[in-house]
């Protein structure tokens, strides 16, 4: 089991319940997408599962261990096996791309290797390979402040690919990418996970991406599970219901206003929602 939660909950200091009563099980190698309206608790869940936050209720097991019953050394060891792709890549602007990517293995390297790598990068080939998968190989020695938001987000993904974690957590990993690049980036994350048998849990804004790449989809609303189903069983009604707080507009990659408008209109009855959804949104594929 990669992730097991039992009645997992998170309550903030001001009494706001960000998450409650979550029961989840993810087996090793599983790929799961989390969707839901903004404020549903997607980021909180990712942070709990990345051992960045301690749950206030319930139990949590990551990669077979309870992170909060570990010693400091044990917790650190566990954290090196979890890679988090943040929505806003936490990379200092003055860092060079190669340094930002190599930082992915700082948890596994002894400190001297990390320090040495600042004098001369210790694994140029490895960093280049990770970057090439995201179509940015030519930017290897540039400073991150010369990159666009979308390029920086891809550097953040490359860092986690380079880290080679057993559990990949992604918080809106492609929010700054256009549909074609977003698709390619998710494909790389999926390929990496399949190749090494890693588990992936990604929160996604675009429902079409979630349905296309993830065999299992979790709908989160107001901190609770709305549904937890194989992608093929997620129906349009469920999605409309999930996003009812946002006018039942199901967010997809299509930022074409005409298409968005079309989605607000009552949709015709669809037998296989997945097919239509993907077709209607991937006009430029």
């Amino acid at each position: 089991m990669s992730i097991v939660t039992h009645q997992l909950g998170l309550e903030h200091g001001n009494g706001f319940r960000a998450l409650h009563g979550l029961n989840l099980k993810l087996t090793a190698g599983e790929r799961v997408a989390i969707i839901g309206p903004s404020g549903a608790g997607k980021t909180s869940l990712i942070r709990l599962l990345g051992s960045a936050l301690r749950p206030t209720n319930g139990r949590l097991e990551l990669l077979g261990e309870n992170p909060w019953q570990q010693s400091a050394a044990g917790l650190r060891q566990l954290r090196t096996r979890i890679g988090t792709i943040h929505q806003a890549p936490p990379i200092p602007p003055r860092l060079r791309v190669i340094t930002a990517i190599l930082a992915g293995r700082l948890g596994r390297w002894p400190a001297w290797k990390g320090l040495l790598s600042l004098l001369y990068p210790v694994d140029i080939a490895g960093a280049q390979q990770a970057l090439a998968r995201l179509d940015l190989a030519d930017r290897l020695f540039e400073r991150c402040d010369r990159l666009s938001g979308g390029q920086l987000q891809r550097v953040g993904i490359a860092r986690v690919l380079y880290q080679q974690p057993d559990l990949i957590l992604a918080d809106e990993p492609v929010s700054a990418l256009d549909p074609i690049l977003a698709d390619a980036a998710i494909a790389q994350i999926v390929a990496e996970a399949e190749q090494r048998g890693a588990t992936v849990l990604a929160s996604l804004h675009a429902v079409d991406l979630a349905l296309k790449w993830f065999p299992r989809v979790i709908g989160l609303r107001s901190g609770q599970l709305a549904f937890d189903l194989p992608a093929a069983e997620v129906s349009t009604d469920m999605l409309r219901d999930l996003y009812s707080s946002e006018g039942s507009i199901v967010p997809t990659q299509a930022n074409d206003p005409a298409l968005l408008h079309a989605l607000t209109e009552p949709l015709p009855e669809i037998t296989d929602p997945k097919v239509v959804r993907l077709d209607s949104c991937r006009g430029r594929g």
Partner: protein, 283 residues
């Protein structure tokens, strides 16, 4: 969409800045505290401009003119300047040995146990508080007191001055480094710590790239202060500009004193240039 419901008519109610009352209160409290303090400090600027006092001041300043330009004195001045630079630089170098480790231990930006919060959190807090307390003690005692103490052990000479500078400035640098590291964007370092990275590597990969400029400019500024503080080295016979200044003042030689002050000015300008060059290089 019925967006009309969201926007109320502007005349319906007037929106006030909710912070305004607090700002006014803070300003009033600051004034109420400041006034007695000024009284206590006998702050009466008008006295400066009374006729007799103006004359005293101009007389004092006139004695400084013209600055001494004799080759013999300039030779002394040059040698004393080099000594001062050596004392200040050695003092800052030793201060860094104190400040850097304490800043790394003391800064919350590199706290692993506060993520979560995790195990050993109270121990981390205790260590950080102890570290800050140590930094406070180091800088709370003026360098002149340390210098007088070390003179008793080491005898007259630059060594006592260098040590005194190292301790006080170690405390100041450590405190400000801690705070600079906390006030830059700490998310990169936090993300690295969350990925199992160690403290030192999280510092150099996550914090230093953002904070390098500020850390450098504060360090150079402290070096500049150390140059000025070397005046106290005159008391402990450490040589340098401080001792020269001490002699000139005792002999009431205003020309020499003003030449020394001009040298201080030149050193401050130098420090400024160094600081901006380094900042540019790190930009």
């Amino acid at each position: 969409m019925s967006s009309g419901q969201l926007a109320a008519e502007p005349s319906d109610f007037v929106v006030r800045d909710p912070e305004a009352r607090r700002r006014l209160g803070t300003t009033l409290i600051a004034l109420v505290i400041l006034w007695p303090l000024l009284q206590l400090a006998e702050f009466r600027p008008a006295v400066l401009f009374e006729a007799g006092n103006l004359k005293v001041m101009t007389g004092f300043l006139a004695g400084f003119f013209p600055p001494e330009r004799g080759p013999e004195f300039l030779g002394l001045l040059f040698k004393a300047t080099l000594e001062t630079l050596a004392i200040a630089t050695a003092g800052i170098a030793l201060a860094l040995l104190i400040a850097v480790p304490l800043a790394i231990i003391g800064t919350r930006a590199l706290s692993i146990s506060s993520i979560g919060p995790g195990p050993d959190r109270w121990r981390g807090n205790v260590v950080r508080v102890a570290c800050r307390a140590l930094l406070t003690v180091l800088r709370a005692i003026p360098e002149i007191v340390w210098a007088l103490m070390f003179v008793r052990v080491l005898g007259l000479g630059p060594a006592a001055g260098v040590l005194a500078l190292a301790i006080t400035y170690g405390g100041m640098l450590g405190k400000v480094y801690t705070e600079i590291l906390e006030s830059t964007d700490t998310r990169p370092a936090r993300a690295l710590l969350q990925g199992g990275s160690g403290r030192i590597t999280a510092l150099v990969y996550g914090l230093i790239p953002n904070a390098a400029q500020e850390l450098t400019s504060y360090t150079v500024y402290r070096w500049e202060c150390a140059v000025r503080a070397s005046v106290i080295m005159g008391f402990v016979g450490a040589g340098g500009l401080g001792q020269l200044m001490d002699q000139s003042m005792k002999m009431l030689n205003g020309g020499e004193a003003s030449a020394i002050l001009l040298m201080f000015l030149a050193l401050v300008v130098l420090a400024d240039a160094l600081s901006s060059a380094l900042r540019k290089a790190l930009a």
